[in-house]
Symmetry: C2
Subunit: 117 residues, 2 copies
């Protein structure tokens, strides 16, 4: 009998719409901003430079007609970042895609994992 082993299934979802692409990087940043209210803190948690996080946020804001993240003065570090209602909607849809797809693939993933060492 095979010994029990830790099994995990990870999904990376990318949505291509016209010439726009939303994937795990932008969505993790949006989620971190929504949680922390700070671009600097989000960058830190993602192990990314502030400049890179800023660029990613700018790309994200260019993906729709309206921004998904808004920056404003204030907060301990001098600036706060927050997800707009559009940003929250996009994030919720993406997270729903992640959880629905993980559920749908779970049974086959466990069967597959049992065939591995």
């Amino acid at each position: 009998m095979p010994k029990p082993k830790a099994v995990a299934i990870k999904m990376r979802i990318r949505i291509y719409a016209g010439d726009r692409m939303l994937g795990p990087g932008k969505m993790e940043l949006l989620g971190q901003i929504d949680t922390t209210g700070s671009l600097a803190e989000s960058a830190k948690r993602m192990g990314m430079s502030y400049t890179r996080a800023w660029q990613l946020m700018r790309d994200l804001n260019g993906d729709s007609d309206r921004p998904m993240v808004e920056m404003s003065r204030g907060g301990a570090s001098g600036r706060t970042a927050k997800a707009t209602p559009l940003g929250k909607k996009v994030l919720a849809l993406y997270q729903q895609m992640e959880s629905k797809s993980a559920s749908a693939a779970k049974a086959d993933g466990r069967k597959l994992a049992r065939l591995l060492k």
Copy 2:
């Protein structure tokens, strides 16, 4: 009214079991081998060197107690590669995971895409 745009949803699935990982690279190789019967041709179609494909195949064969790919002499190029019954089973489960997860995420993905430019 937003103009219609091409929408595509791509899933990259990784299965972690103990210290083993199966993901898109190994699974694409296994699928190509099953289709072409040749490691050289599979490498070519994946834009990968023969050496790299060989290493990937060896890793794949180390992921289970039994091999998923078998090499033998014969064929136009001198060697043939084929997916074993175990390899075919793993491939089928992985492809099922891909199609089930894509179906499960489709409706939310389309909603999300409509929010993009």
